[in-house]
Amino acid sequence: MSEIADITCREDFTFWYAMATRWNDNDQLGHVNNVVYYSYFEACVVNFVQTECDNDWMKSPCLPYAAETSCRFLRPVAFPSHLDVGLTITHIGRSSVKYSLALFAQGDEEPSATSEWVHVWVDRNDERPVPIPETAMNAYTRHKK
């Protein structure tokens, strides 16, 4: 996993999504369960695709599918923390794009976790890869690291 570019400074992220943890995010060990971090990152990525890429999940002819995700857990967070999730784009291909993300407890300068997501854009009907739509490509270019 040494290939993961560890982007850890708040200044390196160009898109932000703020969210609140919930009671049931904590597991039996008293902090947010590792699985739930991915739902935080997903909320940020999906919000980016909807607002910056102007994607309509129910109607767009092509959609982004998750092809690969990863997370490094650096320190625990727990309910009732409020979180800032930062996103930037680190690679743009023909059909695929790589997002780098980090999750910060509000007020913290050091991230609690870093993550990478790869989306592949596919045709809604046949699920085969298609070129990234123009509006999305423009958004990715604007947010490219």
């Binding site: 996993m1 290939e3 993961i4 039996q28 060990l29 369960n33 590792n34 699985v35 991915y38 739902s39 997903e42 999940w57 129910m58 959609l63 599918y65 998750a66 092809a67 690969e68 995700t69 990863s70 997370c71 490094r72 857990f73 990478e116």
Partner: protein, 147 residues
């Protein structure tokens, strides 16, 4: 992030069956990508409980996830029952790297694969400690490839 990993069922010493649930599917009609990690988490902990004697309520030493990864090749969807393959790629003094793969029921080639790194820590101090002996023995069994 692109460490090559086996997709062949025979390379996973432990296979667990998981029934998917209605709410595992997302708006695409597939099991949501995040949910795969819940399957991973469950299969790993079940193995530690059943084969390593882990007491999740009282054990003084617990496993903490420090890194996870998954690559998704084909989708699965409720109401499928799926199978998870579990193996151990690396066993250190205080940490273990599990390899995991998702199979359709009876499938020979994985539709998703990934890894999960646990560090064992003292429940009170949160400091890494050697993997307890019964758990280590169980994990060593997962390093034995069937082939």
């Amino acid at each position: 992030m692109s460490t090559e990993q086996s997709l062949a069922r025979a390379d996973y010493p432990h296979i667990a069956t998981i029934p998917t649930r209605w709410a595992d599917n997302d708006i695409y009609g597939h099991v949501n990508n995040v949910t795969y990690y819940a399957y991973f988490d469950t299969v790993v902990n079940n193995y530690l409980i059943e084969h390593g004697g882990l007491d999740i309520v009282n054990a003084p030493v617990i496993g903490v996830a420090v890194e996870t990864m998954c690559r998704f090749s084909e989708s699965v969807a409720y109401p499928e029952t799926i199978e998870l393959g579990l193996g151990v790629a690396k066993l250190g003094k205080t940490s273990v790297r599990y390899e995991l793969a998702v199979f359709r029921l009876g499938g020979e080639e994985a539709v998703a694969s990934g890894h999960f790194v646990h560090v064992f820590v003292d429940r009170t101090s949160n400091k890494p400690v050697p993997i307890p002996a019964p758990i280590r023995t169980a994990l060593e069994r997962l390093m034995e490839n069937e082939q």
